[in-house]
Symmetry: C2
């Protein structure tokens, strides 16, 4: 990168300023974490992969932490938009549950770093910060579950399970495949990389939870 009289990372970011650079840094940070399976990449690695100066991270995000936060917010916004679209779909609660479970398993399998990342962000932050991360990440999912259960109960297909319990069971089951991804290999001798395994697991989670909450 050329160094000018007024390096961009010393000036204040303005809207419309290098959206491509921000996007690239977020995208490649995600790729690095997926490859490593953890958020432990260095800004040097990011710089090498993107061809962009590490100082641009500071300029655009303040710090590596700010970059990770932007990545979490970006991923969350996308996921929340999908949940809202699913909530409004013309479909039964069972069908929505099936689509959601397959989406959730795929999301975790595609971003196996997400659990370590949240762990890191929540662990190294204030009470206020932990509350914020919990809320942007969990509240929209809990809201979707409240609506889904209400629909299922109205249709006569679900019993009135506590949405909080539903949240901890369903997300726990889906998240667990990445939390213990070493176990797939070491204990069960299979790899999470394969599409087939993800899809079979998602089917099983859907069947167990659907039967589990059936009236």
């Amino acid at each position: 990168m050329a160094v000018g009289a007024k390096p961009p990372w010393r000036s204040r970011p303005s809207s419309g300023d290098s959206p491509g650079t921000r996007e690239t840094l977020i995208l490649v940070a995600g790729q690095l974490m997926t490859e490593k399976g953890s958020p432990e990449f260095s800004l040097g690695e990011l710089s090498q992969r993107t061809g962009l100066s590490a100082a641009l991270v500071q300029y655009h995000f303040g710090s590596k932490r700010g970059l990770l936060m932007a990545l979490v917010e970006r991923g969350t916004q996308k996921a929340v938009a999908q949940l809202k679209a699913l909530e409004k779909m013309e479909a039964s609660a069972s069908v929505k549950l099936k689509i959601h479970v397959h989406g959730l398993v795929a999301a975790y399998a595609n971003a196996p770093y997400i659990n370590s990342l949240l762990h890191l962000m929540i662990g190294n932050t204030s009470e206020e910060g932990a509350r914020y991360i919990s809320r942007i990440f969990i509240e929209p999912v809990a809201a979707f579950y409240r609506s889904l259960i209400a629909q299922g109960v109205a249709e006569g297909s679900f019993r009135a399970i506590d949405p909080m319990h539903f949240y901890f069971i369903l997300v726990g089951a889906c998240e667990h495949i990445v939390v213990r991804r070493q176990a797939w290999r070491h204990v069960f001798g299979v790899s999470l990389e394969g599409e087939a395994l993800r899809s079979t697991y998602a089917d099983t989670v859907y069947q167990v939870v659907l039967n589990g909450v059936r009236k």
Copy 2:
């Protein structure tokens, strides 16, 4: 601690050598992690709480990591003994499942640091080490599930669910209450400390999984 001519932490540990000290260090390390909700305690804190020199950790366990490993192994041995006793019990697969789920939820709620601890141990070790930890921690549970499902199928109460899937769903649901324990407070406004919440959650997990695998 009195310092003698030949400090015990310079001599080689022999069987029967200070079993009380080893036990105390393991026990208090567990207490500190429970209070903090993470394995991030210092040897200084451990020393202050036990009144024992921090050098005794090196003598008995080689390092803090060795102490944590001893704690994991101790906890695992106890849990495996309980699983084996449960497996041999004269009871239906459904009753065994109920006892197991309540035990699992209680175990996680009583040792909320366990997930961070495993995360830390698996993350900072060799491939060989990760395999070892996965196996001592997961293999016995998977073996219990194989036996439980076979019994349930033989009794006509369970369908033949894949024990690996069963493992990831059930343990994921139970572990999730400590992985996201901030969420109980921040999103749902309840505390995991209460007996009632644990018990209600365990009941729900049992009902959902039992209905979920029912033939």
